[in-house]
């Protein structure tokens, strides 16, 4: 066993940290107030190469292993979560499909611009009647000549208003349903018949936009089928399972930041004539935050490593997403508590983290669904 992190990854983490702590931090209030990420931050993230984190080197990406990606996403996780989501949704669910399932043609066509961040990727599975139960999607795709014609409505799609390239899951055979009847497509925003609905007003993740994607006789060329026709449900699950460990890494990064903020604040805030850090009640909270985060961190590295070894991670991926996101929610809650009334104020970043943390238990599969997957896999292992 080797817990040593390569020098070059440490160097990358250092650059990301400087960028986050200086440039992104300086704009965090602005992002909150305007619900918009200043374009210069996105430009800088492009220059740094952050959009190419999950894309192979031959297509202009960084060619990082899953463990390396997670180490970088952990660092990125310190930042304003709206900003992080903008990049991470692209790096995770937005590009994974083409990387792992795309034909050589699709890869050559789309990956270089996605790697440089010139184009933004998004993933569209969820529909009004198909959230946790993704088998219930209604969006259809019918082959007419050399084009697939898509009709339907996806909702809650991250980055939809800004995205250029969507990975869309649609029904191609109603009879067969999820088992053989769904297909994944690569759809460009400019394909005729695609439009974007209004932007949702969310509890948090300001700066990251979530909206409907509407298909009205949207024409998709035949070669834009991702993977095989009929294998779309399996593809979606695969894309989501990759996203899960990366989401866990971001949660760990946010925990790191919250612990840092809380430990500092507790030593500066004086009540009863002493820094509140001297009270055992505060120390216990800090100790629990740090211990749980450490457990989530190493669990994340372990699952990422399993992905790199080509091991199945259905159960572990679900576990780590569920665990890390719940740790983040507990850590954020304690961070607010340590900050007292200040923790409830927008002046302090913990208030923002508290709201933003909440979504991690819901998206990319709710934590109830993760528990369901874990139990199902577990019962299979010990089938009687």
């Amino acid at each position: 066993m080797d817990f040593h992190i390569p020098e070059e990854i440490l160097d990358m983490k250092r650059t990301i940290r400087a960028f986050i702590d200086k440039d992104v931090e300086a704009c965090s209030r602005q992002i909150e107030e305007e619900d918009r990420i200043p374009p210069h931050l996105i430009d800088k993230a492009r220059e740094l190469g952050l959009f190419g984190m999950s894309i192979p080197e031959e297509y202009g990406g960084l060619g990082l292993s899953m463990l390396e990606r997670c180490l970088l996403l952990e660092e990125l996780g310190r930042a304003n979560m709206g900003f992080v989501t903008y990049i991470a949704a692209h790096v995770g669910i937005g590009t994974t499909g083409i990387v792992e399932l795309g034909s050589e043609e699709l890869k050559k066509k789309y990956l270089p611009a996605l790697a440089s961040g010139e184009k933004l990727g998004a993933f569209a599975l969820t529909e009004p009647d198909a959230g946790s139960d993704a088998t219930n999607i209604k969006t259809t795709a019918v082959l007419k000549g050399d084009k697939w014609i898509l009709n339907g409505r996806k909702h809650f799609i991250t980055n939809a208003p800004e995205a250029d390239v969507f990975t869309v899951i649609a029904v191609t055979d109603r009879e067969k349903g999820a088992r053989g009847g769904f297909t994944a497509f690569i759809v460009e925003k400019d394909f005729p018949g695609l439009s974007i609905g209004t932007i949702e007003k969310k509890m948090g993740l300001r700066g990251s936009h979530t909206a409907e994607v509407i298909f009205e006789n949207c024409e998709v060329p035949r070669e834009n089928v991702l993977g095989e026709v009929g294998r779309g449900y399996a593809s979606a699950l695969r894309i989501l399972s990759r996203g899960r460990v990366m989401l866990a890494a971001r949660c760990v990064g946010a925990c790191n930041k919250l612990i840092e903020l809380s430990a500092r604040y507790a030593q500066q805030r004086v009540q009863f004539g002493k820094p509140i850090a001297s009270f055992q009640a505060i120390q216990w909270m800090l100790a629990e935050m740090a211990t749980e985060t450490e457990a989530a961190r190493w669990f994340t590295y372990r699952v990422a490593w399993m992905v790199d070894q080509g091991l199945p991670v259905i159960k572990e991926g679900a576990m780590v997403k569920f665990f890390a996101s719940e740790v983040l929610n507990r850590v954020a809650d304690k961070a607010v508590q340590i900050h007292g009334g200040m923790g409830y104020m927008k002046e302090f970043p913990v208030e923002r983290f508290y709201r933003d943390a909440r979504i991690t238990r819901i998206y990319e599969g709710t934590n109830e669904i993760q528990r369901m997957i874990i139990a199902r896999e577990l019962l299979k292992e010990f089938e009687v």
Partner: protein
Amino acid sequence: MKIVVLPKQTFDTEAKITLDAAGKINREGVNLIMNPYDEFAVEEALRLKEKHGGEVTVVSFGGPKVPDILRQALAMGADKAVHVGDEGLEEIDEHTTATILAKLLRDLEYDLILAGWRAIDDGSAQVAGRVAEILGLPMVNMVIKLDIAEGKAVASREIEGGYEVVEVPLPAVITAQKGLNEPRYPTMKGIMQAKKKPMQKLTIADLGLGGEEVAPKVRARRYYLPSPRSQGKIITGEPAEAAAELVRLLREEAKVV
């Protein structure tokens, strides 16, 4: 155009300084960075290279962690690096460092030498000047704008109440002041490429130096931490009364007026 930059590794600006049992500055567990003024120097070298073509070499003298800042410079875009290790040197001063760097520079080709005007740790602002002196080169200090044309450097520096524009023939030594540029971050790709770029490791003996030649001329007799700042005082009350009270305190307690 061949440019050599002389970055130094220093404590992080946020590092907490403590003294060890022997009364020396404790380096244990301290985060080390490239001296921020040297980052301006590296950035300027890269911009000149991008404009005029050429090659940027970064050279640093110091301990085993120095390759970290050299890799940073390579990742930003420098072409090669040389690390002169400080093995066997117990005490050093600016004379030591400048002697070693100048000796190495004699073996390198250069049109321009860039450095930060001072390091944020000891703040002596001596090394670049001493190097220029040993090599017999002209030097412009604390530069905030630099142009190179036809074998000359035209450098602007801030002076009391205005600017001074200085022209020197190349090769020359130029030191960077804040305002010269905004250093770039090393990109992820740059970091990956950096590990394939040449980094040479030399010892002082490799340079044919040792003994008295590099012995420090200055010896620190004692280090001590600044006394903690005493609590400020807020004077309340009507402005006129508060002002009178302030004057009284400045006269009677602080004894400054």
